[in-house]
């Protein structure tokens, strides 16, 4: 065999242990965790990267890091409580531990965004992984041009990070716009799918760098709007979700053509995958 590396039989499946510093339900199904590595080492990563978060006896799930690496010593994850593993994770609270493998994959090319106008389009739980980039931009605000955030949720009850949203609404450093598919009596904002926000702003120009993260159905409709504005596809970055079991390009579940979402993504430059069938 040609490869002689890693002769000490180190395992790519061994995780770090992380202490849960804080855990709050932020909607009826989403739980927001603040974590620190138990080893005391700083968990370093790029905005947009992912981890496999787990609990022994239950399993692991892939999650996007939901805070900026510049956000102090802790890092955030949001778990949507749906299946066996996420239900077990959802039962954890401050003082408990979970396991973390990563960071995995490629994040947003932060340097390429510097000096540029930025639009982030987030649908539903897609706000969690891009929150790492939103916070990064806000922490380095002078490094970026105009910053616009579109956020769409099914109902006002599905809005995540209410405190953040409140702060972003009032923040003169960014242009925050949101919409819901189905309003309640108290909702005073925009109603409709996320693409309806495009007609409400003139700040998106062909030079804008764009990040999209949301449910699978959302991408092509947002890209259609960006095409009409004239944003080149090389300026569009999509953050994709797939089933993942290993996170290290072996198990095959996240494969799209010859790309592994866990290794080559989850962030892809759209021009590099637009011809890949099954991607969007």
């Amino acid at each position: 065999m040609t490869c002689t590396c890693n002769d000490n039989n180190e395992s790519i499946f061994l995780p770090h242990v992380a202490d849960i510093i804080d855990a709050q339900m932020i909607t009826s199904t989403e739980k927001h965790f603040k974590l620190k590595l138990q080893s005391g080492e700083r968990f370093d990563y790029e905005p947009g990267q992912i981890v496999e978060a787990g609990l022994f006896g239950y399993g692991e799930v892939p999650l996007g890091l939901a805070s900026s690496p510049t956000n102090g010593e802790s890092f955030d994850l949001v778990v949507r409580v749906l299946g066996k593993v996420t239900k077990a994770l959802g039962d954890l609270n401050a003082g408990d531990t979970m396991t973390i493998r990563g960071p995995l994959g490629n994040g947003f090319p932060v340097d390429e965004f510097k000096g540029e106008d930025v639009l982030i389009v987030a649908g539903g739980i897609g706000l969690c992984p891009v929150r790492s980039m939103i916070e990064y931009i806000l922490h380095h605000r002078a490094d970026f041009g105009k910053f616009t955030l579109f956020f769409g949720a099914k109902t006002p009850h599905d809005l995540l990070f209410e405190e953040d949203l409140e702060a972003w609404r009032c923040d003169s450093c960014m242009h925050y716009m949101d919409t819901v598919d189905t309003p309640d009596a108290a909702w005073k904002g925009n109603v409709g799918v996320i693409t309806t926000l495009f007609e409400k702003t003139t700040e998106i120009t062909p030079a804008t760098k764009v990040i999209i993260c949301g449910p699978p159905i959302m991408y092509k409709f947002v890209i259609r709007e960006l095409d009409m504005i004239g944003v080149p596809r090389s300026n569009i970055f999509v953050d994709l979700e797939r089933r993942m079991k290993c996170g290290v390009g072996k198990c095959g579940h996240c494969q799209i053509n010859d790309k592994y979402v866990c290794m080559d993504g989850p962030v892809f430059r759209y021009s590099e995958i637009e011809t890949l069938e099954e991607a969007i």
Binding site: S11, I12, R242, K250
Partner: protein, 340 residues
């Protein structure tokens, strides 16, 4: 590389010598077919087998493999390689192992496979009887044999044995080997050439032609035509010597306090393979069986063909034999695409 001759009469003593030093995994009969299993008695060895139900990948990558053991105090890696001998792997199965070595060492190095692989001495053997679906003579036929330590070819009166590596050479001390004559070496070459020529199934096209044609057939109706009969059972994946996808699961021991995280062979033809849970149900990134069926062929013939320089297929024919609906034969499918 040095060539030796081992007579038929001396084979048993050599294999017993191996068995005294290592666990020896070799082809043995199981009802009407054959399997790779640990030899308990040398008389079980069947080097005249046509094919085995499962490929030898299970020796390094068992169908269920522990990755991590955990208890209330912590967790440890389950990597624990044991020295062993894999005896009697056919040339195309050796090629399949060499491909798996690339999959598991490229980019992220997976010691859960590689440590077992490095601890295994591989002694190949020539094909004495053909499996009725085999087409290894025309699939990756020009791909060199690598990764094995020795190779035995059945010739008149015994075996011509090539010692390929130092480990292979060291095994010679365990048997009554003689230096091979030029005639015996030539006879072995002819036997292996003839084994390729005599394959019952034939594939057309070069590796590059297959890659290009299959890649360009993404929107062809051919996938749905074949997949119409697909039961999505994943048998073709499970018996494949180059399929390496897996699921990862956790399991508690009966004490309720300790357990293991393990991987299980998984199959991209099954409905659940690309499914994620979503509110109120699930989202499936390859929902139609035609898409899943196409993915298997795309992956073997196009995507991994890029990585390997040839299709991720050895022409063993196990998938053809395992498919209840008789739609898995790569020679049939790829030949049809090449004709389009």
């Amino acid at each position: 590389m040095k060539s030796y001759f081992l007579s038929d009469q001396n084979l048993s003593a050599f294999v017993e010598g191996l068995m005294s030093k290592y666990p020896v995994i070799a082809p043995v009969a199981k009802r009407s077919r054959f399997v790779f299993d640990k030899l308990v008695d040398v008389s079980e060895l069947r080097l005249d087998y046509d094919t085995t139900i499962l490929p030898p990948k299970k020796v390094f990558f068992p169908a269920k493999q522990d990755l991590i053991h955990f208890n209330k105090d912590g967790f440890t890696s389950a990597i624990d390689p044991q020295e062993q001998v894999l005896l009697g792997a056919h040339p195309h199965d050796i090629k399949g192992i060499a491909m798996s070595d690339i999959f598991y060492s490229d980019r992220e190095y997976d010691n859960n496979y590689m440590a077992n692989r490095k601890a295994t001495i591989i002694i190949g053997s020539s094909v004495q009887n053909h499996y009725k679906h085999a087409f290894f003579g025309t699939m990756n036929a020009d791909r060199g044999l690598t990764g094995h330590d020795a190779f035995m070819t059945k010739i008149e009166g015994g075996y011509a044995v090539d010692a390929v590596t130092e480990k292979g050479e060291s095994l010679v001390a365990l048997g009554a080997f003689e230096d091979a004559t030029e005639a015996q070496v030539a006879a072995a070459t002819e036997v292996n050439r003839k084994a390729e020529e005599d394959c019952p199934e034939k594939l057309n096209g070069t590796a590059a032609e297959i890659r290009e044609k299959v890649r360009n057939s993404f929107d062809s109706p051919v996938w749905d035509e074949f997949a119409e009969k697909c039961f999505s059972c994943g048998s073709c994946n499970i018996v494949c010597c180059t399929c390496y996808c897996f699921d990862v699961q956790d399991e508690w021991n009966v004490d309720g306090a300790s357990g293991s995280r393990f991987r299980l062979w998984d199959a991209c033809l099954t409905t659940e393979f690309s499914e994620v849970t979503s509110p109120g149900g699930s989202e499936n990134f390859r929902e139609d069986r035609g898409e899943r069926y196409r993915h298997r062929f795309m992956r073997k013939a196009a995507y991994l063909n890029e990585q390997l320089g040839g299709p991720a297929c050895t022409g063993c024919g196990r998938c053809s034999g395992a498919c209840t609906a008789d739609i898995a034969n790569p020679a049939t499918v790829i030949n049809k695409i090449l004709e389009q």
